[in-house]
Structure formats: C-alpha cells, structure tokens
Point group: C2
Chain length 316, copies 2
Amino acid sequence: MNEDDLVRSLRERFSPRIGDDAAVVGPQVFTTDMLVEDVDFTAATPLDLVARKSLAVNLSDIAAMGARPRYALLAIAIPRSMTDRLPSMIDAWAAAAREHSIEIIGGDLSRGDKLVISVTMIGEVCARPLLRSGARPGDRVYLSRPIGAAAAGLQLLQSGISGNGYAERELVESLIRRHLDPEPEVALGMKLAAIDEVTACIDLSDGLSTDLNRLCEASAVGARIEKGRIPLFPDLEAHVRSLKIDLRQCVLHGGEDFALLFTSSLTESEMSRRAGRPLFAIGRITTSREVLLADGEQESPFPPAGWDHFRSGAEG
Amino acid sequence: MNEDDLVRSLRERFSPRIGDDAAVVGPQVFTTDMLVEDVDFTAATPLDLVARKSLAVNLSDIAAMGARPRYALLAIAIPRSMTDRLPSMIDAWAAAAREHSIEIIGGDLSRGDKLVISVTMIGEVCARPLLRSGARPGDRVYLSRPIGAAAAGLQLLQSGISGNGYAERELVESLIRRHLDPEPEVALGMKLAAIDEVTACIDLSDGLSTDLNRLCEASAVGARIEKGRIPLFPDLEAHVRSLKIDLRQCVLHGGEDFALLFTSSLTESEMSRRAGRPLFAIGRITTSREVLLADGEQESPFPPAGWDHFRSGAEG
C-alpha cells in the first residue's frame, strides 16, 4: 500500500473532501502536514528553519487551492534535550506568521523522543477553490518556476559536497536554502484562482512525476510532458558533474520544490501576462489516460517515482 | 518552564485566542491535541482505542467550549511495524466520527519511530462560546460527573492488579475502560452554553487541581472546594485498599477524566434540573485569588499538581 492507495481508502471511509491539497468546506479550506525528525529533517537541521518549513508546507497546500491562508494550529512533540531551542522556534513561527499574514490560534505541546511538528492550516477561498480535478484535454501543463533545486540541495546536504570556487559555493548554498527554506507560491495561487482559464492545480511536494500523475488521475486525463521545456534552476546544469548531483532524479522526481503545477487553456505568453510573471508551459493534457515524457523524438511512460511518505520507511 | 508558562508565552507571541480549550474565531472553535506513544499510551494499548481517544480528547475540548463538533483532520506518524494495524485504526476513527456526527476531512501520513497522532477539530459555536474566564465570586463550582476513575484505571494498568472476585474485577475493568476510552461531555457542553447562568467552563484533562487553577486564573478569582462534596466513581472508595489505588491523588490531581468543570450562579438542584441530569456542586468561587481545599474544618491551599505535559519528561 502506498500513500495514494491510503488516501483513496481514507476518502472512501471518511469523506469525499479528502484527496485535494486541502479540504474545501464552504468558503474555507483545511489542510494538515506533519514534519518528523529523521524522516523530514535531521537533528542537524537548524530548528528555526524546521519551524518555518512546517508552516511553508501547509502554506503551499493552501496556495495550490488558490486560497488565502488565515489561521494555523501547531501540535508539537519535543524531546527534553531540545527544550532550550523552543524560544528560537517560537520566534521563527511568529516571524513566518507575520510574513504571510496568518494568525497562529492554537497549539498543543507534548514530550516525545523525536521532534514532531504537526500544523493544521485554515484558508479562505478567494475566487473559487482550485482543484486537481479540472484539467481538460488540450490544456497546457504549467510549472510556476524552475524545479529540481530542493532535491539537489538535499543531495548536497547528504553528500557534504560544498563546491569549489565562489560561484559554485554560492550555488550550493542557494540549493540547500531551497531545500531548508522553501517558498510557497501563495500570491500566485490566489492569482490563478481568479483566472477562469486555469483548470487544475497541485503543489509539487513529492516530485513532478508523482504530483503530475495525481493531477491526471484526479482529472481522468493523461499528459505529455516535453522534457526539454522543464525549466531548471539557474546554473544548476553547469555544475551537475562537479557537485555529483543526479539532475534527472532531482528534476523529474525530486520532492519539496513547492512550485505550483497547474493546467490552463491559455498560451504561455497569455498565461504569463495574466499572472504578471513568467510561467512555464511544459506539455499538454491528453485524452488518453497515459502520462508520457517526451525527449525529442523519444516518448516514454512517466509513472510516479517521487517521494512516498508512506513507503519511505522501506526505502530509507 | 511548565505547560501553563508556555501557553502564556504563546498567547503573547501568537494570538490572544490561545489559552482556552479551543480558539474562538467568529462562529467556529478550533482545537488540536496530539497523542504520543510512550507518553500518552504504550505499545500495549489497543490501537483502536488510541484512535478513538485521539478524537475523544479533542471532542472534550470542543465540549468545554459549549460548541458542536463538526470536522476533524488527522496527522499520523506511524512505525513500519504498526502498518498492518492501520485498517483497524481507520475503522475506529470512522466509527467514532459517525458516533459524534463529525466528518474527517483531511489527513497526513508519515513514517516515524513512534506512533504519533495529531488531531485538529473544528466546532461550531452554539448559543455562545463557553470560556474559562467568566467565573464570578459567589458562583458555585460544578463537576459534571464523578471523577478519579481514569487515573485509577491508569494506576491499575501500571500495577497490573486485576482484583479479586467478580465485583472487584468488574470495577477494575470499568476503571481501566475510563482511562482507555474516555467519554467526552459533548451534549452537556452544548446544553451549558444555552444556560445563561453558566459563567465559565473547562474540561478536566490534567486533573482537578490543575484545571481548577487554570479556570480561576483566567477568571481572576479564587475558589474554595469542599473535599467531601467531590463525587467519586461508584464503589471506587470501597476497593481502594485491596486495589492499592492512591485515591487522593486520583481524585484531586488525576488527569484525563474529561468531566466538565464549570461555574454557575444556579443552585445544584436548579442547575441539574435545567441540564436534565444530576450535576455536582463542589464549592464556590471567591473574591480572594486563593484556590483552597476544605476538608471539614481544615482549609489548605490547593495548587496545581496534576499532569503537566510539558514537564512530564522530567518526572516520567
């Protein structure tokens, strides 16, 4: 059983509202995401960044719904040894809450052997909720920004490679920052919800292949992605060899980019103009249920191969 | 720093809505509570009961606000070894959700070394939100039902004492059940909210001494509790010696009874009549800020000495 099987069974048992990035209830959306020590971060990760990220991952879910984030609740299990670092985590939550104009309205604190942070976030539907299920054949598939950086940053953290020379070290730092301190696309999400021609949306939390397949399954469509059109993080490609980064893995399957992946009937130039910033058309939605990756003339299946929270224990 | 100090600092840093059993936002209340393996339950606890209890503790917070529970979100970290027990937990959540007419609208699943269940619950304000802060000098202090059973059940689980003879074994079973499968006072909470003379309310999650002091502090009042008036679980007193139960500890400081502790200007008979069930006046709210326990002629301070989630690591 993988994460998607489980979500499907929860949807059947609990509520048809389960299955999007957040649950829509009237004018509100609700989402919850948990970060677990040694699964989502290590003891070496700065705790203020873990605190920030615990909000960011939820903000990204709200963004994918095109909603405005309003309130958050924090439930935390914390080991005794980390208690003295709690004030700096509280500072980080307070700063991030101010930055995104959200109010932290409740919490629960418990002891635990490992640090666990569970955040529930409540958003306000703006124009309409953006769902995963609206993509139509012929729509273009869009990415909101270059991807692969967060996964590359994680690889660098794990390998300990820090780069040679000023430019490369700068690149390494900014890749690692993308992993540790991701930027949710909150403003863009709300803008997309106001554009009628945007048909479906999901945030890239578990990798392009996995999240694209989720969007296609929810919409009962297929997609054909042109590999050459996927935007890459600036300068990443040039340093792939010396930094020993598995670029293909990072871009196609790497998690936690928190870019938005969405579909729209608009052309790339029109879409970018309406959103007021460059957006990247990387392929098309198709009638066949197949999800394909085209590399020049070659076309191959593009099944989900990204992060699976629920299977990760077996792989890790 | 104990749990209450921490809550006070979160209230200052994050939101004045923090500090009641749930946060009031317009017509809604929000609460979150986390259960952690080896802190709130052990590997020996049946997981379907852990699942039920994860909802019950949140339902009790909603009850204390006099609100109607509506929606819940579950975030779960689960060890690989427990995965095969997830279906029975899902059954338990689904059954408890039906029982209380709530809808589980979202969730998150992650791996973890220990089972952690974080529930966020959303309720709907009925007549008005019941707060901790409304108690007035002269009000009677009420308990919704006999207390001490859950803590006695926990002591029995820990001691392994199962009792002698049919009646005692039955008692042991029902005490343990009170600990493992607590009953939140949802219907009563809504009824109390509709009675104008009810001035303040809190649920007994951390013990009478601790939760009474919280209510008094929030209301800027004191209280004088008559020990002899505290209702005890039927037959508990008679078996205290043979079952080696520390009755004083269980009743005065034992956690997780999930009875409601509330204040009202009504007499016991009028209060019980209006609520449609027996309720127990155990003392009075006073103008002095002291919280006192009276045992016949003797009066002594009654400081918080119940469960402190945040200090429990030091004691456990």
